[in-house]
């Protein structure tokens, strides 16, 4: 199914990105090309094939788990806020939500 400009607008909305009319004209055919290309996977027989999820190697899978729930030192409020575009009263400050 080809990707249209309407689809791209909807996707941009889902991805929380504004998109200009010029970008729309460029992206829609490019994304349609790429999606058409990846659809070659439809020819692969994949019934009963397990998906590759997790640590890839058996050894990596063994460590890919939650750590013990023990408190360890962290950045702290001051450092965590140091790069904020706007901080106030020990919090990240953002424009109004509603």
């Amino acid at each position: 199914m080809p990707i249209t400009e309407t689809d791209v607008e909807k996707i941009a909305h889902l991805a929380h990105m504004e998109i200009t009319p010029e970008e729309l004209k460029i992206f829609a055919p490019q994304m349609a090309d790429i999606v058409a290309y990846v659809e070659q996977l439809n020819e692969v027989a994949i019934a009963n094939v397990e998906p590759s999820l997790g640590g890839l190697t058996p050894e990596g899978k063994a460590t890919d788990s939650a750590r013990d729930d023990v408190a360890t030192p962290s950045l702290g409020q001051e450092l965590a806020l140091a790069e904020a575009p706007e901080a106030a009263a020990g919090h990240f400050r953002v424009p109004k939500v509603l």
């Binding site: 991805a15 504004e18 790429i34 094939v49 590759s52 890839l56 939650a66 450092l79 790069e83 109004k96």
Partner: protein, 496 residues
Amino acid sequence: MTPVNDDIEALKNRISSGETTARAVVESSVDAAEKLNEPLNAFLQIDRNGAMTRAEEIDKSLWSQNGDGTSVPALAGIPVAIKDNICVRGMQTSCGSRILGDYHPPYNATVIDRLLAAGAVLVGKTNCDEFAMGSSNENSAFGPVKNPWDTSRVPGGSSGGSAAAVAAGIVPIALGSDTGGSVRQPAALCGVVGLKPTYGRNSRYGLVAFASSLDQVGIFGRNTKDVARVLGIVSGRDTHDATTAAVPVPNYTAGLTNDANDLKGARIGFPRSLFGDGLDTEVRASVEAVVDVYRDLGAEVVDVELPNAKYSIAVYYIIATAEASSNLARFDGARYGYRAKDAPELRQMYRKTREEGFGAEVKRRIMLGTYVLSAGYYEAYYGKAQQVRSLLKEDFSKAFESCDAIITPTSPTPAFLIGEKSDDPLAMYLNDIYTVTANLAGIPGISVPCGLSSNRLPIGFQLLGAYWSEPTLFKLAHAYEMARPFTERPPICVDN
């Protein structure tokens, strides 16, 4: 006084013996970085003050040891460059993006802590494709890196600045990241060695995430032995990254001696089907000549099949974009980095920040990833891609039953012209045909220079190995280097 002709062990020994100083070595590196940044644009930040202060500290600590060379750290005084998507406290981490701009992370990546503990001196942060998305470095918000062999051409990507810095002799070692070939491909295009380790070998803590199941920190060097030495320093289990494996770190340089070129008993896999359409004839001839060298060194060359490799680009661009769309959701203007001005309401602030902060390729990939993960499409794209990924892993497992390593070209062509492919994302993606397989399967790969094209552009070959087979890859790559040393230098280089 330039580090360009020494390997890092010899350079460290000259520093620790007092023949030269860390200060002199680091100063020449910083001078070169500054001087060559005009033609190359390889660095986004050069930390002269920080590097010089640290070099002087290292000299002092070496002198206070009274010549007790045994306790000198392995990288004492060695200048190193770091890709600008790896966090270094006190330096910027822009990821080549406006959305991070001059973000200064409050912590070091684990690989950085380990380099520093070994005495390395960080000279600066290198330019890259935005968020490591690209094969040419043209996607950096701060302008493309130029190839030191021909400044009208790309250095490859996404770790192009790191590759160019090593190729031009500015530093002997640089770190990059490799999600689909972003260390190996620029290494090939710039004529240096580039390693992508086994997934889980190096910690990703402090590497800004692009596609978490594919990303690995990789290493550039002028020779295999230097790369092996640095892998031994940075790799291993890290409690900050649950995907690092508890696999012991061997002595990677053991056996890499100057006479180590007898490969009797070694088996090199030759995947004939990957040497067909789309491969530049000079690259093919060059890599086939490498196969002959391996035969001459005593290795057996066996045919191997990777029947699902032809799907790897399709699988990769589903999985990588899906993971990117999720990872890059964090760039929202709320906690760090760029925030769009004058947005009256939170959602508009997110949308404007991301519109203004991200470049075209990053937007395209976030949207593709959002699409393949969206309701109704997940199974058709992401689910299926993860299944074909399993088939590709099986292809490699089977192939490694009959060989120790598989040889391929690293890139289908030598360096292409800046602008040549920048309007056609799909054509650009097809550059990665030989490299994405290693990331999808999680196996290690190394690119090694094997000559120049008729117009004097470097060509590289790639060796792929089974999980944790870095020692085998190093042994094979090193043996080739001993048999056919690559001594050419680019026109833009410290010595010139």
